[in-house]
Symmetry: C2
DNA sequence: TAAGATTGAGCAGTCAATCTTA
DNA sequence: TAAGATTGACTGCTCAATCTTA
């Protein structure tokens, strides 16, 4: 449990754990970047991140995606995707139509208007991310990318062993 | 546009950017860990992460914290803290009392019951985090910690220069 | 006036229940 | 029966407006 941290006074030293501090730092970086992006999306475009994410997913698939595909791709629930897509459809950024093969499935596609809109947002977004990572050298970025890859594997393995 | 490496066809290559892929990976790791923790907190304790976070912040301050201090510490809005603390008070995990010096400020303190409850949650939480990072060597963890520190600095610098 | 806290409206997200089609 | 989608109830979050005390 408590491992290579500084303090290890009693038995547990719950808050002194190196892993816990690492996780807190990871969380803090992500939250900060996410907040920054959200704010700019709202201020400069009146847009939101979840809607941007849906558009980004659809942009890569000219034939559109089903609600289930979107849900799995964005890591959010089916009900959430349904609501998001419906408001995007109301704004004419996507169209929503039942699949001809299986009439249970509903397929969302980007409209021309949606595609143009996304291109605008994506360009700005790209610039913001570049700014935020500008303080890291290319080598550091590569290293961080690799370590996060290793973390991804670690998480997946932890899932396999534990329950659920 | 294509996301995972390889292509860099035209000029911008918006989605092919290394920074964007790095950000997406960072986000993905964080979301996955957070979801895992949330799920276990809910399944094993009927608890939620935001409530756990409030308890964790209060645990370190025997004299309690004001709503404003909690808000800044947890990086969430004042209104959110108010609501969270009120439900925790209803469950008798915290007490809420006006400050004697300045009667505008409201100070939250952990009850004995809240402290015991938190200890139980924290122990489990600590174990889950250890599991999730188990696949990384100590050296890798140290390296990741340092790189995230550099990223934190980079984000702070980006803020200083840009607007807002 | 302003600072701390609370309230209310609205978006995002989850889950469980339901509806429709396979 | 089951799979895909939708709906409804609920938590969490933000913001703007308000209330209270300085």
């Amino acid at each position: 449990m408590g491992s290579s941290g500084i303090r290890e006074k009693h038995d547990g030293a719950l808050e002194g754990s190196a892993n816990l501090r690492l996780w807190l730092r990871l969380l803090s970086c992500t939250i900060t970047i996410e907040k920054r992006v959200k704010r700019r999306l709202a201020d400069q475009f009146g847009a939101t991140l979840p809607r941007f994410d849906v558009l980004a997913a659809l942009e890569r698939k000219p034939d559109g995606m089903t609600m289930g595909e979107l849900s799995r791709s964005l890591l959010v629930s089916n009900g959430n995707v349904t609501a998001l897509v419906q408001t995007l459809a109301a704004d004419d950024y996507v169209t929503l139509s039942p699949s001809p093969d299986d009439r249970r499935v509903s397929r969302a596609r980007l409209t021309r208007r949606g595609s143009a809109y996304f291109a605008e947002l994506a360009k700005a977004h790209h610039g913001w991310i570049d700014e935020l990572f500008a303080g890291l050298s290319p080598a550091e970025r590569g290293h961080l990318h690799n370590l996060l890859g290793a973390l991804k594997v670690s998480i997946a393995e932890a899932q396999g062993e534990g329950e659920r």
